[in-house]
Assembly symmetry: C2
Homo-oligomer: 265 residues x 2
């Protein structure tokens, strides 16, 4: 039986936390990962620009035989999922819906907090997805968490202090009793230990990367596992060395075979 | 007498600290500021790409009658100043040389520390400029400082803690007695108070933005002040709203009249 190829797209290395979750749940598939590192961060760009870049990535992944596309980038999902779906001729799974679905299921009180980058929060994509499920939502942008992860300070007193400041703001007032916290950024799984330590004990931490992998695992493409050695290909639009170095932290294993690619504007 | 027009270019809003210094020193000129916000940060891009973008910006500013160009972007100065000068038909001033010159003059012991973004430090542009003046150099990338400034935490205990960690690394060992610190990033002038508090008392803080403005002030173009109301025009390649909101913190005054512009690739 032929192995399926799953394409994973992110603006950088953060989406490797989604790939990591996919590899754990669907070890029988092949993967191709595209990180648009030369044009990150998408968070500061307009919806139109992000859609334009994302559609380019979608074409690239399809030309490399991806049979299902995972948009492992909260910004691209939030700002451009509709345009991506229109441009793709295979199924597309974004990170927002799976995270919202898992959080709505996990919350007993119907009160969910979402943390993410400024762009993701400003898009209100999680708010819409959660409110559509009858859940009350508090959204909080945490712009320092990504740079702290990229600095490698995942278990550092400064990161703990910053996370405490953000979470204190989240779990206060009307949302003191919220009982689910969505990690709405693909960098945040690396901070799960510190966030789990600092969030009130009754709060369920919902990792969008994991929720997304579970949705993909339920798809037809994921069912067609095959024989032979698994292939993992990585493409980056900027330095392959930097991608490898930073990426290994997110993927939790060695990264070989990163190729540089230039996309036309 | 006709007022001169000075063009200022940066990848984002950081260069507004240079414009702020220019406005203080040369109030008699008109200014046009171009922020290539859709394509920032330049730091993760190749020298070729940065040169290509910068030359586009230079043409834009010249078409809008700039008689002198200030490259208020450390990355563009470090990676592309020669190409920019070749493409320009007016005088060009970058931020690296003025900062290096001021630091070399300020240091009595001939030992200077430079802090900046990862890209600026990796370019070793300040090292070259300082070593050419016979000064010993220690360079230190401080990747968390830009996000802290953009979060608005310019006077915050976390920023103080992060800055202390970075500066402790800088002023230790052989460089414990360095006596000048170059702020090699246009975001850092906002952190001058905290950095001045934390650096050893004998250390002179050299603000590249200010040093650059002084070099421009000495040019012929700056001498031809004129009558009439000053004009300040701002152009950004991404959201004008975000440019205005973030930019006002850097410029220290209200920003009106931001126009969106799309540059051909």
């Amino acid at each position: 039986m032929k192995r399926s190829t799953i394409g994973v797209f992110d603006s950088g290395v953060g989406g490797l936390t989604v790939l990591k979750a996919l590899l754990e749940l669907i070890p029988g598939a092949d993967y191709i990962y595209f990180g648009d590192t030369a044009r990150l961060p998408y968070g500061s760009k307009s919806a139109e620009t992000v859609a334009h870049y994302a559609v380019g990535a979608v074409h690239f992944l399809q030309e490399h035989d991806a049979e299902l596309l995972v948009i492992a980038c909260n910004t691209a999902t939030a700002l451009a999922l509709d345009k991506i779906k229109l441009a793709a001729h295979v199924d597309v799974v974004g990170v927002v819906e799976p995270g919202a679905q898992a959080a709505a299921a996990a919350s007993r009180r119907g009160k969910v907090a979402v943390i993410g980058t400024e762009a993701t929060i400003a898009s209100h994509a999680y708010r819409r997805a959660l409110e559509a499920r009858g859940v009350e939502v508090l959204e909080k942008a945490c712009p320092l968490l990504v740079p702290l992860v990229e600095e490698g300070w995942v278990d550092h007193p400064v990161t703990e202090q910053v996370a405490r400041i953000y979470l204190d703001e989240v779990f206060s007032g009307e949302f003191a009793d919220a009982d689910a916290l969505v990690l709405g950024c693909t960098h945040y799984p690396l901070l799960k230990p510190v966030l789990a330590r600092l969030a009130p004990p009754h709060v369920v931490i919902v990792d969008s990367a994991e929720s997304t992998a579970r949705v993909v695992a339920a798809s037809a493409v994921a069912q067609s596992g095959g024989a032979g050695e698994q292939t993992l290909h990585f493409f980056a639009t900027d330095s392959v060395e930097k991608f490898r170095r930073l990426g290994e932290r997110f993927l939790g294993r060695a990264i070989q075979d990163v190729q540089h690619v230039d996309l036309k504007e």
